[in-house]
Every structure is written in C-alpha cells, then in structure tokens.
Amino acid sequence: MNIKIWGCRGSLPSPGPEKNIYGGNTSCVQIMHENTCIILDGGSGIQKLGESLPKRITQIDILLTHLHLDHIIGLGFFQPLYDPNMTVNLWGPAATKESLKNRLRRYFSPPIFPVGLNELPCQGEIIEIENSVFTIGDFIISSQYICHPGPTVGYRVEKGSTAIAYLPDHEPALGSADFPTNAEWTSGIGIAGGADILFHDAQYKTEEYKQRIGWGHSSVQDAIDFGVLAGVKKLFLFHHDPSRTDEQLRNMYEESMLKNKLPFDVELAQEGKYYNL
C-alpha cells in the first residue's frame, strides 16, 4: 500500500515560508492500493489530493475522525465531490442524537459554505460508524471512540499483516487510569496496538500541555509514551501546532529524541511525504 501525507498541521491551516518543510495544511492522509483510495480526514490538505488522483479511481472513501473544522475544512474544495461519475463515501462517528449527515450539513450550508450537501453531484453514501469493523476493497478497517471532545474515533487500516493506526486528535493522558503504564485502561490502544505506523497527535510541548488539559490533544512526550505502550513500529508526530515554525518543530523533536531511547522510529509528519509498505 502507498501512504501519502497531504496535511499534518493541527487546528488551523497555517501556510507560510517558515512552515515550508512540514507544511501548513490540516489533517489529511491518503492510503492507496490498486484502485482503492482511502482518505483519512478532510482537512485543507484534501484539496491538493483531489487534483492529483489517477483517472482510474472511480470510488473514494473518506474516513472522518470527527467534525472539528480543521478535519473537514477541505471537503468543499475536494473536486471529486463535484463529479457525477465519482462515488465518494463519507464515513464518520455516530453522535448520540443528531445524524452524521445533519452534522455535516452545518459545514455544507451558508454562511459557512455556499453549496449544500444535497447539491453535490457525486454519488455515494454517508455512513455512521462507532466501535466498528468494516471493509473497503482489500482493507479491513476498525474504528473506536477515543478520548477527544465530541464524538471522535481513531482508525486502524489493515491489509494482510500491515496495520496503519490514525489518531490525529487524541488525549490518552486524560483517557487513562494510569498513563502510560496500563495499556488495558488507555484510550486508543485497541486501535494502535502493534501497528506498523502510528499517526498520533503531538501538538504540545510538555509544559504547554499542562495548561491545556482537556482540550483533547497530546504533548510530544505523551505521543511517544503512547507509542511505546502500544508497541508500534514507527510513530509519526502529527497535528503540529499552527503557531510552530519548521525550526521550532525540529528543535522540539530533537529535544524529545535526546530524552528518549526508543525501540522504534519517530518522525515529524511532513506534508507531501509518501511511503510504501
């Protein structure tokens, strides 16, 4: 499978010359295998993705972790939604009362956006998931509610013996009885356990996190500790704070690497990078 990062910034699209390396687009990761195209989140990165799709692709499945704006802001600018020959399925977490379709309509309606959800010419369905297991092409996908404000899921995408875990917005230090020592009682472990690649929230420095407990995000150190607890093979630090420059991200990463001797690789997620597994 091929994996490409189209956006790894958190909270707010924040382009600029000081962010050219790691990028300013918000959450969007593409996973491809033959004619199957899965997109994790519809952040601003999805706009460029839409322009680069091979012509052979006729179905796209977008898996939304949650509906915070930085994870759906690119949807309205995703060209396949305007193609009547394209099937675009939108998957996302069920809420207690309101349907996923109605919650998406808050974005696809004025004054936020001029085009309504029902006006989109593409084919496709809106599918609610919870703690679910389902298949798309050759991929087996698991979703599970995780610790983040509002209905939010993490995804595990598996093909054969390879597993990708995606938890871009996640606060395991809050959703845990004894973080980071008790895997059974830690949010998200069922999704991330033993994954070949884990994309995990790492928005804050440790001292910043102390001022933002309950906001739904993690420090770099908590992301690393979570990766250790989950026994992953590679960790991508994801959901970079919108105010952080390339240089600051690099410094934060190097400080963390000095503190930790890890049994797996850790990388700063970088917009435009792609990987083959």
């Binding site: 977490p93 919870e130 703690n131 599970q144 995780i146 959703g175 845990s176 009682w185």
Partner: protein, 130 residues
C-alpha cells in the same frame, strides 16, 4: 484482558477522584474497577485483585433486609440497572469485612455510550443515616 472502552475508562477516572465508594461493572456484572473508599467496604485492594468475576465479588457483601434475611439478586439496584438499563436506587443492610452491619443506600446507573451502546453500570454506595 481486552482493552476497555473510552466510556469505561473515563468512568474510572471520575470514580478514582471521588471520596464515596464507587463500583464499575460490565454488562454481565463483572467488577471492572472499584475505588479506594470501596476498597474499605470490600476489604480488598484493587491494585491487588484487579477486576473480579461477578460470582466472586457479589457474595462478599451478603445484602440483607432489615430482618437480616438475604436479598435475592433482583432486589439489588445494580442488578436492576443491568437488567433494565435504567437507573435504580435502594437501601439495604450489608455486613462489612470487619463483621459490622451497615445500612447503606445504593444508586446505580447504566453506562450508555454513543450512539446507544450499553457498556456496563456504575454503583455509588452511601452509608445510610436515618
């Protein structure tokens, strides 16, 4: 043990920070967690026992009516909550591990996750003072 669901984990977080006895069970009544005040009632420490099967922990209290007659399981609020998925409340007597008899109030409520997933129940115990 399988990993716990987020609603159960957050219930434990709340229980862990309260000063009244709290018990958290799964849908079958197996004890998943009890907090420090509950440890006094059980005479056991969670760190030592971990979770307990329903057969194991339900026999510890010997719930009784005011005449000292043992109550059937369906008379207990927590059992009612597990059966009906609704909150329940009741008063009865228990024998503590030290052999003392206490009148207690128990309030239990189901843990219902999004969108409509029944995951277990929480029981709060209070020593009843008339």
């Amino acid at each position: 043990m399988p990993d716990q669901q987020i609603e159960i984990i957050l219930s434990r977080q709340l229980a862990d920070s309260l000063s009244i006895p709290v018990f958290i069970v799964d849908t079958k009544g197996n004890l998943l967690f009890y907090n420090e005040p509950a440890e006094e009632l059980l005479g056991l420490r969670y760190e030592e026992t971990g979770g307990m099967a329903v057969e194991e922990w339900s026999t510890i209290f010997k719930p009784q009516n005011e005449k000292g007659e043992l109550l059937p399981p369906e008379a207990l609020p927590l059992v009612q909550t597990l059966m009906n998925k609704k909150p329940a409340h009741g008063q009865f007597w228990i024998d503590s591990m030290r052999g003392q008899r206490y009148k207690i109030s128990v309030t239990s409520f189901p843990i219902m996750g999004r969108p409509d997933r029944f995951l277990g129940a929480v029981a709060l115990f209070w020593e009843s003072i008339d």
